[in-house]
Structure formats: C-alpha cells, structure tokens
C-alpha cells in the first residue's frame, strides 16, 4: 500500500518533468547562492584564523605600545631584565603588495613558531638570518621579493611573507621600531608591565576580523536575500505540485490511506527532493564561490590588507549548512501544502471562489504586517545605530515592501479596471487582478530582486562617482617617488629641485591614533594641498592654521569612529591639538591625521622623509621618470606616476563591487525563474477562466498575446514600485551601512540611464517568464479549451 501510494505520488513528477526541474532548480539556485556566500566567508575566516595564529595564537602573548612605539632598545632593556620577549615587525610592503612579518628566530617563543618553520638547529636558519630565505604560503611563494628565496609553509596565510626581522625592517623601511614583543608565558614575569606598553593575551580577537566583519555581514545579507528569493520559487512549484495532485490525494485517502501516512509520504518525497536539490546547490555554490573568491580576496586585500587565498577548499561547515538550508527551505516552502494534505477531508471538492476570498483577506492581513515592518524599519532608522541596525532597516524595508506589494498591486489593478472600457479591456485588468494571488510570491521575489538591483546599483554608482572625483583631488601630484635611504632622499631632492615645479616631501609616522593603529603625516605648505585636498569640513583659514601649528586634520574614518567634530581636541604624542579639518579618505581602514611640517617635526624628530610627491608638467613625466631611474639606479617600484596609481585604485574599487554586482544579477535570475514557475503553475489553472473568453470569440492567438501582455504589465508595475524602494535601499546603504562598515558617508547620486536599463531588465524578466506559457496557450488544441469550458471543473 505504502509503495503503491508512493509510486502514485511520484508519477506526478514523471508526467510533469518541468515542474520537477523548476522545483529542483529553484531550490538548487537558492542553496547555491547561500552556500557560495558561506563558502567565501568560511574561507576568509579560516585565512584570518591562520593569520591570527601565525603570531597571535593561543599561548602567544603580545606586548604592544600604548604611547610611543616600541623600539629595539625596549626589546634589549626587557631582555636584560629577564623578560622572555621576542621582537616582531609587521607591516605592509606597498610596492610588493605583501604583508611582511619579520621575526627574530633566535628568541621567537616555541609556541609562536609556525609549523614547518625550521627552528634553531636547522640548516636553513643561516640563510633565514642572512635575509636570503623567507617563507610564504604555497599560493604566495611565487611572489618576487628581491634577493630572497621563498619556501612554502602551509600554515601561513596567503599574501604574507615571513622573514627575518632584519630583512623585514629593511622591506618596511623602519629603523629600530618594532610592532610588538611576543612572549610565550606571562605567568612568571620579572616585573609589572612597563609604562607605555600593554599586554595582549594570546587568542584575543584581532583587529582584522573586526574590520572585515562588516564586509562579510554584507555578503551574508546578500546570500540570505538570494535564498529567500529562491524559496519563493520552491514555494511556487511546491504549491503547484500540491494543487495538481489534489485529485490523487483525494483518491488515495478515499481508498484508505491514513492522512498521517500520506503526510509522511509527502514529507519523505519532499526530503528526497530537498537533498537532491541541496547537493546540486552546494555543488553550484562551490562553483559560484570559486568564481567570486578571487575578487573577494582582492577586495579584502585592497580594503583591509587582509589576505585571503584566491582558491577555495571544501569545508564540511558550509557543505552541511547548505544542505541544512535546502531542507529547511523546502520545509518552509512546502509547509502550507503539507498542512493541507494532513487536514484534507477525504471528499474535498474544489472551492476556488472561497479560496480567493480567503486570499483577499489574507492579503490585507499581510499588507498590515508589511506596513508594520516598514514602520519598524523607519523607527530603527531614527533611533538605532550600528551596522546591525542598518541591516535591520534594510531587512524591514525589503520584507515590508514585499508584503505590502500584493495589496498595492490589487488596489492599483482594481482602480485601473474601473476606469477601463467595458469589454475585453476591463476583462484584461480584472483578470490580471484574479491572477494576482497565484503570482504574488513571484512578484514579491521580483520586487526584492529589482529593488536590490536599483539600490546596489545606485550605491555603487554614487560611490564610483565620488571616488573618482576624490582620486583626482587626492592624487594631484604627477609623480610619486620612494627613496631607499635618507642619504638618497637628500641627493634626490637636490637633483630634482631645478627640474620640477615642486618637490613635496611626504613624511609620516605610524602611531596609534584614537586607540587604533594609524598614521600621522607632516605636509609642507603648498598650493597642491591648499587647492586640491578633499576636505569635507574645515574651519576658515584651515591651511594657515595648520602651518602655524594650531590644528590638525583628520580623515573621515577617524572623525566618525570617535565622534570628532571641528574644534575638538585630538590627543597626539606631544600634546593635544584641535581638529580644524576633516577630509575624505576612501579605501583606507586606518585613522589618519595631518600636521603642518614644522609641528610634525617638532613632535616626531625621528621621522624621515623618504617619499616625495613631485609637481611637474604632465608631458614631462615620462622623461623625468626615465632620468630619475637612470641617475639613481632605481628599481621600477620606486617611482609611480599619477595615472598608474589612479588606475590601480579604480581597479581595486571595481573589484570590490564586482562581487556585489554578480550576486545582484544572480538574484535577478532567481526571480525570473520564480516568475516562470508561477506562471507555469497558473497556466493550467487559468484555463477555466480563459475558455469562456475563447468561447466568446477571442482567438487563441489574441488570448496568448493578452496573457503575455498581462505578465509584462505586472512585472512593469512591480518595477515601478521597486524603483522608490531601491532608491530608499541605496540611501540606507550609503548613509547608514557604509558609514558603519567603512567609516565614510557618500553623497547619493541617481543615474537615470541605469534605472531605464533596470526597467528594461524587469520587462525582459517578465517577458521571458511569460513567453513560454503564452506559447503553450497558443498551441493548445481547441478541444482542450472546449472540454474545459464544458466541464468547468
């Protein structure tokens, strides 16, 4: 009996393979996007953990500077006092594009030695100490560090080279400054933590994961949105399958199958489908993640200096999570159907009219819930703060709008129908409204996908416009030059003086600013800064005040994170200074401050000016670069021209949002599939409604055209509603989420051409989804319609 029942249930899929495909496709797509995002996040998290354990894992404690930076002298002093401290230099070699970790293998605590690194006693140590040998992850051993052989060490995160502290200091251009002192045991220290230092115990959270959290939250939110859209598809197909099989259920119940066994059978069937689709989705997600990961890696690297491998490994975590989501998603999507199966009276008859009425009531309830959600979103926007509040606003806005959509569409269609001419036109609009209940979920999915597209597109566009303008301001100098030593810098300056319009030394120190590692710059008084610096807020006469040593400029990130406003004092080594200007500083996670050169040198006499920005006529750039290279025998990375830096920055920017764009398009694709699934569901159900119209003399071709037009019109109406929603979304992203995630706020700009294009996409989505059912209708044999008309179900 059980077997017979099961095969009866299954025969449905044999007869409707398209439904089976849609069901599995929808679920697989939803799972794929979710899994893909999870896989990327898992990979990144593993990379952070690896980075953390290189020198910050369990059992490795760090002494860090709380005021002035630590130096070699601090190291020697503590060692002589019996501290088990080992110096480490960390930093980013911007010319090589690598994170550099310099250690002293002679004192490095055993707990901090990465697995596989030869310790004291191994033959490689001499080369390591001599700066001829370094280590990198197997993915990164190919990078060229001049004069250094890199050996692979699987425990290292990619993009990081582990070298001797001597070479590290040389690569990073630091003198005697160190980043931290490592210790294995802190149980029995010879004295209290010295003044000016703080002890950070091993295993503590690293700044890196905190910084990148927001980025991953962004991705997760996107993955979830895609999943929700995918679940709409599954719901539509599952609903269709239940609807189609009502007679079968009835028959099975009538011949004695208990409602309980029937429900179990259907549940088993759904579970099997979920597992198949889930496996497919996980596989697909793996491919999606693999395709997106290089961009994500580049983004994280460019934005936060976090190294993530460009290749993906299969991790049980996200595989299981993906399968779980598929099963849960199927349960959610098919739950309503299952409930009906369970409670189906054996002799249930069709009650479409009652069903539709109940649906209208439900639409109102749903619209009420939607409005409530929108209100919550608005309230959160007013009182909440933080990244999660931003996402809460986004979620409330999107879900609320989606829930309100059917009611709004129904009202709109009703008022149009009222105004329409009686006859076919009125039937067209009234029937569109009748069709709505079946399409609501798909249209909600479309609304979400379109709004997300508008929102993210607008945000990226606004960001790009601002960023490009900012680059033009910030990169005003034509040529940027790095000297190897102070001596070379002095010779360069002499050589350059008669050849260029201006030599602007770039002096900087790396110091903790407002409790975070940051940089402090000293700038000379020059029109380049006065005319071009991208100020957001400033006091009158800001540059004069700056060069009189009466103030400091801070970047937007620093100001926002610490709530600094103009006039507030900023604590700097050597005393507080008032903030007199705030400038935009995109693509940089660190806090930054700028002092006039005189004030800077008074506070940081040890800082060396090894970098220069050069002003000269653009047409002279190429010639001067060549002369400089020849005269000082410079490596190619010592000189960069404005155009190259700009191109590089824009490239980092584009890659940052490549992932977002890709997810966007995929979401829209999922919505299209959802619409197609729903329309296919409806096409059979709608025949009783169409047959009378056909019987009245409207040709099949005309009917098919009207059906097609109806779907397109619904898609278009949805798009019209998606537009304001998308713009609101963009505003929340720009004004709330970005500020929290990156520390900068961007002016919103609307790009009409993009919106037109999106309307086109919506139309195309609707048209694509509607085309097939319309063709099917067109090709139906007239006898079908006749039979339907005659029997009227």
């Amino acid at each position: 009996m059980t077997w017979t029942a099961l095969s009866a249930l299954m025969s449905h899929w044999r007869r409707h393979p398209l439904q089976l495909i849609l069901m599995i496709l929808g679920l697989a797509l939803a799972t794929a996007l979710w899994t893909g995002v999870q896989a990327i996040n898992a990979e990144a998290r593993a990379a952070y953990d690896k980075a953390a354990t290189v020198l910050g894992g369990e059992g490795v404690n760090r002494l860090e500077a709380s005021t002035a930076p630590l130096t070699m002298q601090d190291f020697a002093r503590l060692r002589r006092a019996g501290w088990p401290a080992s110096p480490v230099i960390e930093g980013r070699d911007r010319t090589l594009g690598l994170r550099v970790l310099g250690v002293d293998p002679l004192t490095l605590p055993q707990t901090a030695v990465p697995a596989g690194m030869p310790g004291v006693g191994a033959g490689d140590l001499a080369d390591f100490l001599a700066g001829k040998l370094g280590y990198a992850s197997p993915q990164s051993v190919g990078v060229a560090v001049p004069g250094v052989v890199l050996k692979p060490l699987p425990d290292l995160p990619p993009g990081l080279v582990l070298v001797d502290i001597g070479l590290g200091a040389q690569l990073l251009g630091v003198d005697q400054q160190i980043s931290a002192l490592l210790m294995d045991s802190v149980a029995d220290l010879p004295g209290p933590i010295p003044a000016g230092m703080v002890l950070k115990r091993g295993g503590a959270e690293l700044g890196l994961s905190r910084l990148t959290d927001s980025f991953h939250l962004n991705l997760t939110a996107f993955g979830f949105l895609a999943f929700v859209v995918g679940i709409f598809i599954v719901h539509a197909t599952a609903g269709l399958a239940f609807e189609h099989r009502r007679p079968v259920f009835r028959t099975l119940r009538a011949i004695g199958l208990s409602s309980r066994l029937l429900a179990v059978l259907v549940m088993v069937e759904m579970l099997v489908l979920a597992l198949i689709a889930g496996a497919l989705g996980v596989g697909l997600g793996y491919l999606v993640a693999g395709a997106l990961l290089p961009d994500v890696a580049a983004t994280l690297d460019g934005l936060y200096g976090a190294s993530v491998p460009g290749s993906l490994s299969l991790r049980p975590g996200w595989v299981l999570a993906g399968m779980g989501m598929a099963v849960v998603g199927t349960g959610v999507a098919a739950g309503g159907g299952l409930w009906q199966v369970w409670h189906l009276p054996p002799l249930e008859t069709a009650r479409p009219q009652a069903w539709a009425k109940a649906r209208a009531r439900m639409d109102r309830v749903q619209a009420g819930a939607g409005l409530a959600l929108l209100a919550v979103a608005g309230g959160t926007l007013l009182v909440g703060h933080g990244l999660y509040a931003g996402f809460a606003v986004l979620a409330g806005l999107l879900l609320g709008a989606a829930l309100v959509l059917p009611w709004v569409l129904a009202r709109t269609l009703r008022s149009i129908a009222r105004r329409a001419r009686p006859g076919l036109a009125q039937w067209f609009w009234a029937d569109a409204r009748a069709e709505l209940p079946g399409l609501r979920l798909a249209l909600m999915a479309l609304l979400l996908a379109l709004a997300a597209n508008v929102g993210v597109g607008t945000m990226v566009g606004s960001f790009r416009a601002t960023f490009t303008g900012w680059l033009d301001q910030r990169m005003a100098a034509e040529l940027y030059l790095n000297a190897e030593s102070q001596d070379q810098a002095a010779r360069m300056q002499d050589w350059l003086a008669p050849r260029v319009d201006a030599v602007l030394p770039v002096t900087l120190v790396e110091r903790d600013l407002l409790g975070q590692p940051g940089r402090i710059y000293g700038v000379v008084d020059h029109a380049t800064y006065r005319d071009h610096w991208p100020m957001l807020e400033q006091v009158p006469g800001v540059w004069d005040l700056l060069h009189q040593g009466k103030g400091v400029l801070v970047n937007e990130q620093a100001a926002r994170r610490s709530g600094l406003a103009l006039g507030d004092p900023l604590a700097l080594p050597g005393g507080e200074v008032p903030v007199i200007g705030i400038y935009s500083d995109y693509g940089n996670p660190e806090p930054q401050a700028i002092l006039g050169i005189a004030a800077f040198q008074a506070r940081f006499p040890e800082a060396k000016a090894l970098r220069f920005a050069l002003r000269l006529p653009p047409e002279a750039v190429a010639g001067l670069s060549a002369d400089l290279t020849r005269t000082f025998d410079l490596p190619p990375e010592a000189i960069s021209d404005q155009a190259t830096i700009k191109a590089f920055s824009l490239q980092v920017f584009e890659r940052t949002f490549a992932v977002t764009g890709a997810l966007n398009v995929l979401t829209l694709a999922v919505a299209a599939v959802a619409l197609l699934a729903s329309l296919l569901t409806l096409s059979g159900l709608r025949l009783p409604g169409l047959a009378p119209v056909w019987a009245l003399g409207v040709t099949q071709g005309r009917l098919a055209g009207l059906e097609f037009a109806r779907s397109v019109v619904l898609a278009l109406l949805t798009a019209v509603l998606a537009l304001p929603l998308g713009l609101m979304l963009a505003w929340v992203l720009l004004a709330v989420v970005n500020v929290e995630a990156f520390g900068w706020r961007l002016p919103m700009q609307v790009f009409p051409m993009d919106l037109v294009w999106l309307f086109g996409m919506a139309l195309a989505t609707g048209a694509l989804a509607a085309a097939w059912p319309a063709v099917q209708l067109y090709r139906r044999r007239p006898t079908d319609l006749l039979r339907v008309f005659a029997s009227a179900r």
Partner: protein, 351 residues
C-alpha cells in the same frame, strides 16, 4: 687552552660538520687571524674582538655547600661573526650572533639552559666601561672598575628550574695560555688568543628546585678568540681545567683527529707562573666510556705529566652532565685522585 664548545656553526651550517666540530675547522677567509706577536693588553682585551670569527667568555666553578654536597656551575657566552666586515649594517642585520649556556651540576642532576641573541641589539654584549660586563638577557658576569676589571665580579644566570648568583674574587694573576696568550691548536698552525683567570674564590647562592643553597668554592674564567681554531681534520676535543690542593693548576686539551691527536696545555704554579707544556708531555687516556644521551662518552680519565710527577685519575662527579643544547656536548665537574687530588672541570665535544 680551552677549545671550548663553540657551537654556533653547527646550527648555522650543518655542512660544516665535515670540517671539524661545529665548523670550527672552516677557513677564515676575510676574518682576522691570531697574531703570535701580539701582546695582550688589559682591560682592553677583556672586551670583544670584532673581526675575529669566534670568541667566548667561559666561567666554570666547583662549589661546596654547607653540608659538604658538591656542585658544579658553568656560565658561557659565545660570540660569532657570520660574515666578515660587519661594521656597517642596518638595524637587526649585524652579522653577529651570541649564545649563552648556563649549567648547574649536582651529584644526580644536571640543569642546562641556553639562550640566543643577534648582535647589535643590546640583548647581548660585552662592555668595559664603566666596568667589565658580559651579558646575554639577564645572565651576566660583571666586574667592578679597576686596574684589572676581573678582580671582583658577580656571576648570575638562570634557567627554567635553576639559577645561581655568585660573587667571584680573584686571588691570583691572569694567566696567558700558550706563548704570551697565543695558543696553538694544531700542527698545521691553527691558533687562538687565549688567557684565563683560574684563581677565583667564590661565595654565593644556588637556586635549586628544592630551595636555595649557600655555597663556596673556586672558579676559573677563560677568554679566547680566534677565526679558525681547528684544523679541518680535527673532529672534537677533550679539555681539562684542574685545580689541585697544592694550589697548582693544569689546563690541558686533546684535539682528536682520528690519529694521535694534538695534545697541549699549561702548568700553572700556585703563584700564577704559567709554563706551556711541550707537545707530547701530557698523556690523556680515557678509562671508561659510559652511555650518555645515546653516545659513548669517556667519563673517567687518566692524566699523566711526567715532568711534574703527575699521574691522576679524573672521575666525573655526575656522568650525565650532558649539555642538551643546540649543539650538544658534555661538560661537568670532575674529582681528581692519584698523585694529586683536587677538583676540576671536563669538557668533551664531538662525541
């Protein structure tokens, strides 16, 4: 002499094992060479000798507790230059390494600690001003300012489970080993600059897991520098520093080369008058080899020096005085019996 366990080469270049113990037989290209005509000057020569490849300051002490229990203490600071001409170097890049070894030996236990440092950071070093001090981390041997900076010194070191803090007072003159401090190490002419202060009287405290122990006894300091002290075929050495109850002392060494070896030493009279031993005068004969740390190590020796009527047997106080350091070797106190009695230190490398 005191061709001591200078070991850094082994961990720097294992290939050097083929050239004498711990690479000490490697050629000295580019490094300074010992000069037989050089007259040592103090206190300047207590300090470091840049340009030479290897240098060490070495203190061994035989001590006795109030209850008569015997102890041995070792304190060593090695300096090595890994490339010639390391004057101008970026921070952290001075081609110089330092290594400290500390040991404390009881009848049944042997405590060892090792610490390493790179040159140029201040983590380890030797200075003469304001007074002599040689240190690595918080291990230190430091003297007071004076004509001879080694007259009165403090000596400290500690490991995970032991430590010591000793006061050293010199009761005799410095002893120049070899000829005026030029100590020949092979028939091929390898040599080092080498002097000792074997006349320290010691008082102080040992920190043992059981608690602190007050001790008294004698200590012997060696300072030696060279660039290639071993011939390429010399594989290791046995070194003896013996203090007899007569007040006389003997420093002797055997450089093993698979053949007869190169044997030399210095007889030190009670007043510090040093006489270099002619080649072949000292006869050292291992009597018993014990299995120590998986190696066959001679922990009992017979030493004869016919000129001085010396025929003694040396017995390791604790045969398991194995230095399980980066480059392992044996070093520990010995008890002397026979024609003369007394106590001393034995070092054996290359086993």
């Amino acid at each position: 002499m005191h061709v001591r366990a200078f070991l850094l080469w082994l961990f720097l270049a294992p290939g050097a094992m083929a050239q004498g113990f711990a690479g000490l037989g490697a050629t000295a290209d580019g490094f300074a060479l010992p000069d037989p005509d050089r007259v040592l000057e103090f206190p300047a020569d207590h300090g470091a000798h840049p340009g030479f490849r290897i240098e060490w300051w070495y203190v061994t002490a035989t001590l006795t507790g109030a209850d008569g229990a015997e102890y041995g203490v070792q304190w060593t600071l090695f300096r090595t230059e890994t490339a010639p001409g390391g004057g101008e170097a970026l921070p952290w890049q001075k081609p110089e390494l330092w290594m400290g070894h500390a040991a404390l030996t009881t009848r049944d236990k042997h405590f060892v600690a090792e610490t390493l440092a790179r040159g140029g950071t201040g983590q380890a070093g030797v200075v003469l001003d304001p007074g002599f001090a040689a240190w690595i981390d918080d291990w230190q041997v430091a003297g007071l300012p004076g004509a001879d900076a080694l007259d009165a010194m403090s000596l400290t070191a500690r490991g995970g489970d032991f430590g010591y803090d000793l006061a050293l007072v010199a009761e005799g003159p410095l002893v120049l080993q070899g000829t005026g401090g030029y100590s020949v190490k092979s028939a091929k002419g390898q040599a080092s600059h080498y002097y000792s202060q074997p006349f320290f009287r010691v008082t102080g405290t040992l920190d043992l897991p059981e608690g602190a122990v007050a001790v008294t006894g004698n200590a012997w300091l060696d300072h030696e520098w060279s660039s290639q002290p071993l011939a390429p075929d010399q594989t290791g050495w046995d070194w003896f520093s013996l203090s007899f109850e007569t007040g006389e002392k003997l420093m002797g060494f055997v450089l093993r080369d698979g053949g007869a070896g190169f044997v030399s030493g210095t007889w030190i009279a009670a007043d510090g008058t040093a006489t270099a031993l002619p080649p072949g005068a000292l006869v050292a004969e291992p009597l018993e080899r014990l299995d120590v740390a998986g190696r066959k190590v001679p922990t009992r020796w017979r030493l004869r020096l016919a000129d001085r009527g010396l025929d003694v047997e040396l017995q390791a106080m604790n045969p398991n005085a194995w230095m399980a350091t980066t480059v392992p070797y044996w070093e520990g106190p010995v008890t002397i019996s026979g024609s003369h009695s007394g106590r001393g230190y034995l070092e054996m490398t290359g086993y």
